[in-house]
Symmetry: C2
DNA sequence: AGCGATTTGTTCGTATGTATA
DNA sequence: TTATACATACGAACAAATCGC
């Protein structure tokens, strides 16, 4: 139930699993503030370092967003449906830190690299984009 | 050139920038072993904590892969071109830690979620996949 | 087969800085 | 201004896996 420091799985991953489950089960809803790091320290008797690692895992998964004021469950937000046409190719990767800053993206969000038949490329934040294959570009 | 602890940018991000530049410039090639954490500690006179944070940044960007034996520059590898047809929709996100383990993926690699017109979904590791829009699925 | 050295993984502690309420 | 909460950075210790001898 709680966290077992003697378990095989590291404490911070156990906590990440626990919080992730609470998010997926709707116990923590999008936009909602998570308890402070110190709350988790007190609740489970673990170090702040372990709590911060757990938060870093969840940020890396794009599940939470941490500002200076605390962490919140990320809102799925409104994704724009982008139509792409025949001959277009597409891939996804993580942005580098400078790219991420440039695009004003949160952590844990991939970018879509869309290459048109003419060779032109677009970078789109994946959390705001749904690709739909259409007849016409 | 080196790392300036008094700079605005955090030490670990400075180191990440430095190593990333070496990778992008080909000074560190795909498959090549990076210096050990202790080497960077000695080279720049920074803490191991900062070095590990820098490595975590680069792992999160999918640029390096760290095993117990050390970190290596990730090989671009062969991506399979997957054709998708009209009516298919697509999005990308980071896998959760359990998903990542399940799919046997390295850190810092997004997954492509492809939904066919019939509602069937496929999960594909983004580093092995290039999407190509074709007439026929 | 063993055994030590290397290297990363985890976890604690402490301290200081910075932004927000 | 004070209190809260996260960000960065140092140090220390031990565990676990791997490699070379």
């Amino acid at each position: 139930m709680a966290i077992d420091p003697s378990a095989d799985r590291p404490v911070y991953k156990q906590l990440a699993d626990l919080i992730r489950a609470r998010i997926e089960q709707g116990e923590l809803r999008p936009g909602q503030r998570l308890p402070a790091e110190s709350d988790y320290v007190a609740e489970f008797g673990i170090s702040r370092d372990s709590v911060r690692r757990a938060m870093a895992v969840l940020r890396g998964e794009g599940l939470i967003d941490t500002q200076l004021r605390g962490s919140r469950v990320r809102d799925a937000g409104e994704a724009v449906t982008v139509p792409i046409a025949h001959g277009t190719s597409l891939m996804a990767r993580m942005p580098t830190e400078p790219e991420r800053k440039e695009l004003g993206m949160a952590e844990g969000i991939p970018i879509l690299v869309i290459t048109s038949p003419d060779g032109e490329t677009r970078l789109l934040p994946a959390d705001q984009t749904i690709i739909e294959v259409s007849d016409q570009g």
